[in-house]
């Protein structure tokens, strides 16, 4: 491991990753496994083809919001309509700044009318928490950063529920898509949420750190395949799911990121609302497109998108999909968002591509 790796944080599962020959790399300040012994492709295939993969995503942050005005506070700082959530429901949402651009994309869990739980990106944790705590001063709401105490596992793939059920203190079948249960796993308190980032059925499991190793080992022993960051990104990109730092950043608003479906302009005032409304009126400054190469090659992040010999955009996520071939998500000039020839420049050569709809491959989430 390199010298810089010594400063990296470790999740409670660090030793488990090493024991499974995880190749550890720096990621959002943590040492995380990019792949295990079998390699990213086999890991990917296991999740896509009906198995269950287990992912340590403890690097992500968790924030609890409680108080009489917790709902009002979250309506003001997040884009989605928190008033529509019922107990046990979770939705995708975002934090914007006043200019309407992204601070982060998040998920919001409603535990009860005055009690919510947020999952935030690892790389944005401190920024998000500072922002939330500053904004919370105007509300009767308390914001607590629980990231350091919480282990987050994702168990994804067709076999996820079957593997998880013997550990769980509730009937998992009763948890619908984007619903969660406050339950226990091997006796430890846990949130089991039917959510994920792979396009497969499965769960995200929030646990106290003290339970991490037992739950991980039990799931691995039951046949869950450990999955590293490389396969996770393949699974994510094939679904066309946005990732902070790629499709989402402080340079774009939900109008550009095609995330108006989580941005409810009519729910009342929220941070960034007027800027987003204005941008919606003016039109997107960049067009987000999903592209598929019609010739051989692998598009990668930052590769130029060209049209008529001119650079018109940039790839934000790109990969070789075992099922769909060379696929990419890119921002291009707005005029080229829906028509006009596009190619991705790979090592100086313009490889033609066509616009496609996401997901690039079929999603198997439970609707």
């Amino acid at each position: 491991m390199s010298e810089s790796a010594e400063h990296l944080a470790r999740t409670p599962l660090y030793e488990e990753h090493l024991a499974l020959a995880g190749k550890m790399v720096p990621f959002a300040g943590f040492a995380m496994p990019v792949q295990y012994a079998k390699g990213a492709l086999k890991e990917y295939t296991h999740v896509r083809e009906g198995g269950a993969g287990i992912f340590d995503i403890t690097h992500m942050g968790q924030v609890r919001v409680q108080g009489e005005e917790a709902l009002d506070f979250l309506q003001y700082v997040t884009t989605n309509d928190v008033g529509k959530l019922v107990d046990g429901q979770v939705h995708y949402s975002a934090l914007l700044d006043e200019s309407g651009t992204f601070i982060d994309d998040i998920t919001t869990y409603r535990i009860s009318a005055d009690h919510y739980y947020l999952c935030i990106n690892a790389s944005n944790r401190h920024k998000d928490v500072a922002h939330l705590q500053a904004q919370a001063k105007r509300f009767k709401a308390v914001v607590t950063d629980e990231s350091d105490d919480t282990t987050l596992l994702a168990l994804q793939g067709g076999a996820a529920q079957k593997l998880l059920q013997p550990l769980a203190g509730c009937d998992l079948e009763t948890i619908g898509y984007y619903r969660f249960a406050i339950t226990n796993l091997l006796g430890a308190p846990a949130i089991a949420s039917r959510t994920g980032y792979t396009g497969e059925d499965g769960f995200e499991l929030y646990l106290p750190n003290s339970a991490a190793v037992d739950v991980w080992r039990a799931l691995v022993a039951a046949g869950a395949e450990p999955i590293g960051l490389a396969a996770r990104d393949m699974l994510r990109t094939e679904m066309g799911y946005a990732l902070y730092g790629h499709e989402i950043s402080h340079e774009v608003t939900p109008v550009e990121a095609k995330l108006m479906w989580i941005t409810k302009l009519d729910k009342g005032d929220f941070i960034g609302r007027s800027a987003v409304a204005a941008r919606k009126e003016q039109g997107a400054q960049k067009g987000l497109v999903a592209l598929k190469l019609t010739d051989r090659g692998i598009p990668r992040e930052h590769y130029p998108v060209v049209s008529g010999g001119r650079v018109v955009g940039e790839v934000t996520s790109g990969m070789h999909s075992p099922m769909a071939g060379g696929v990419a998500i890119a921002y291009v000039e707005p005029a080229l968002a829906s028509e006009g020839e596009l190619a991705i420049e790979i090592r100086g050569k313009a490889v033609p591509c066509e616009r496609v709809k996401t997901p690039f491959v079929r999603s198997n989430v439970r609707r």
């Binding site: 990213a40 492709l41 490389a230 692998i298 075992p322």
Partner: protein
């Protein structure tokens, strides 16, 4: 890590098998291991003239793009087209089915290492 004794190696982890005036070139077991699952190989055009150190192929894994540099000078006389459909051969058999190109040699690179030297180089 396998390092066949009959091959020469470069610091960039290519291997060369020299038979008469033909050099077969691939990447070492160490290189494929470091790259991980290889999913794409860009092969050179037949007839292209290479100088030592020229980029002559590109190997892409799930996460990384890696250039293959010519360990010898000469003319490309063959490329392993099988890799287009089965790039994973480089992972499975880097010194056999995973060969990348053949060159009619006009000059060898100055810095080619024998197997023992390459083994030491990898340890450093």
């Amino acid at each position: 890590m396998s390092i066949p004794a009959d091959l020469k190696y470069t610091k960039e982890h290519e291997w060369v098998r020299i038979e008469g005036d033909v050099a077969t070139v691939g990447i070492s077991a160490h290189a494929q291991e470091a790259l991980g699952d290889i999913v794409f190989v860009e092969l050179p055009e037949i007839g292209r003239t290479l100088a030592v150190g020229d980029g002559c192929a590109v190997v892409e894994s799930v996460k990384a793009v890696s250039d293959v540099y010519a360990p010898v000078a000469g003319e490309v006389i063959e490329a392993n087209d099988e890799l287009s459909g089965a790039p994973e051969s480089i992972n499975a058999d880097p010194y056999g089915k995973g060969w990348i190109l053949k060159v009619k040699v006009s000059a060898l690179g100055d810095e080619l290492m024998d197997a023992a030297t390459y083994a030491t180089f990898l340890e450093e």
